[in-house]
Symmetry: C2
Subunit: 249 residues, 2 copies
DNA sequence: CGTTCTCTTGACTCATCTCAAATCTGGTGG
DNA sequence: CCACCAGATTTGAGATGAGTCAAGAGAACG
């Protein structure tokens, strides 16, 4: 397990789980948590490991506890598009689904809180707190998928890179519990290839746009994976992200 | 009202509504339907009318009864991306949402079964059939949004056009209750501009690809809005849609 | 019949991709 | 400690798919 990751005992109970208040279980109270406790188990996957293969039987349903995984689809000739990024507390699977529609790949070491599928399907049917939480999470994902459609369909390569950097910056500030602002330094959690798949670009274009943003002074690159943003508003501007009316988000 | 649309009385009750078995109310039984009946009203919008403005207060929550509407987002400089197509039975709105994240525009004349927002929010909280249906519909939408991400990020202009034609063909076959197959003839329900916004292209490119597919014999164009597909599998092939393993879908 | 809107086509530009090679990095074994 | 290797990243040169700008052809409408 990476050393900068919360220590988790395999016997951990839901009550002291790090994603307790953001995951599918967020709206549950004690009695419901106990039922979840009964049907869950933790499993870890290595960096690079494919957790689920698209087109094959859906082998699990559960939540990411730590690590980053990607959701992606491919065309027959190998062109690949990432369709989602799974961060801690995000949910994998759909109640009642038999065949997986996407590949799920661990980019880091990933721990998943897995539920036994048939048990979970029963549980969700008579646990409104669980179902409502899943609805809210699914609607949030739908909103981000649509935001991503705007990026994929209409943004330039430079805007795409700036946009993904904003996302990484936000994620990092959230993890560190620090504020977004100037001088922010964070790690790029994906390879250039994964970013290319995420943004609908080639890895060469990703690399070139990093260089271009560096040359323009929008970012400072310590190395390929460590970025400092001298002027956060400038970065937001490069992303053409008009969702916020000028507020730092 | 267009003449080829089901006749709908404004006093129609849920029991004989054309979208009764596919909309948000699909899982409801008589008593629940009656409660919906109480808080609903039908409203029609003209072709071209903007039903909801992104960034403004969400003025309604409800279902499309007939007609086609589009969901779209724009960047500050006017670049526009469609993020969803609303067909009969599709749901508009999110319980509890105050600000609309997308523009909703009627392409046809559209009728919407509207619910009073606060009443609907109350109702969904104690009507599991309603909530479960909304969850299923939202998950379906998430799947199609992700499918669309693959198209936007990785398909060529020609593949994009072929893909959207497959969608129109399916929709038409479904409406007509006819089978998909060779010699299929259908109407293109969107302008070239709307298709461009849908596919992340310009209208010129859309037009050129129509011409190219015509020249290759993949489609026959009676006029700009009426297409015949001599060989349906060929069209599927042009779309590079590998989701089905060769079955006609 | 103009008028207006949608659609098509042409000529040219440019952003991104493709193919290829160089550089950097971390890890391995001698 | 150093030489070597594999994988990740960067950079260059040239090709190309889609965009831009502009004009013309249909179709719909009053």
């Amino acid at each position: 397990m990476p050393h900068n990751v919360p220590k988790i005992s395999i016997n951990m109970s839901c009550g002291n789980c790090p994603i307790r208040h953001r995951a599918i279980c967020a709206y549950c109270e004690e009695p419901e948590l106990e039922r979840l406790d009964d049907i869950k188990s933790y499993k870890t996957y290595q960096a690079g490991e494919t957790i689920v293969w698209a087109g094959e039987e859906m082998p699990l349903i559960g939540s990411v506890v730590y690590g980053v995984a990607t959701l992606s689809r491919s065309l027959a000739d190998g062109r690949r598009q990432m369709v989602g990024l799974l961060l801690p507390s995000d949910f994998i699977g759909r109640p009642g689904r038999k065949v997986a529609p996407y590949d799920v790949v661990a980019t880091n070491e990933v721990m998943i809180c897995q539920f036994r599928a048939n048990k979970f399907n029963e549980l969700i049917d008579d646990t409104p707190a669980l179902e409502r939480r899943l609805l809210d999470m699914t609607m949030d994902e739908l909103d981000s998928a649509r935001e991503w459609m705007l990026l994929l369909g209409r943004k330039t390569a430079r805007e795409k890179i700036a946009s993904v950097l904003v996302i990484f910056a936000r994620r990092d500030a959230h993890l560190q519990d620090s504020k977004l602002g100037n001088g922010l330094r964070f790690e790029v959690p994906l390879t250039r290839e994964a970013m290319a798949d995420y943004l609908g670009l080639t890895i060469e274009t990703v690399s070139r746009q990093f260089s271009a943003l560096k040359k323009s002074g929008v970012i400072v690159m310590e190395d390929a994976r460590h970025i400092t943003v001298p002027d956060y508003v400038r970065l937001l501007d490069e992303a053409s992200d008009d969702s916020d009316g000028g507020f730092i988000t």
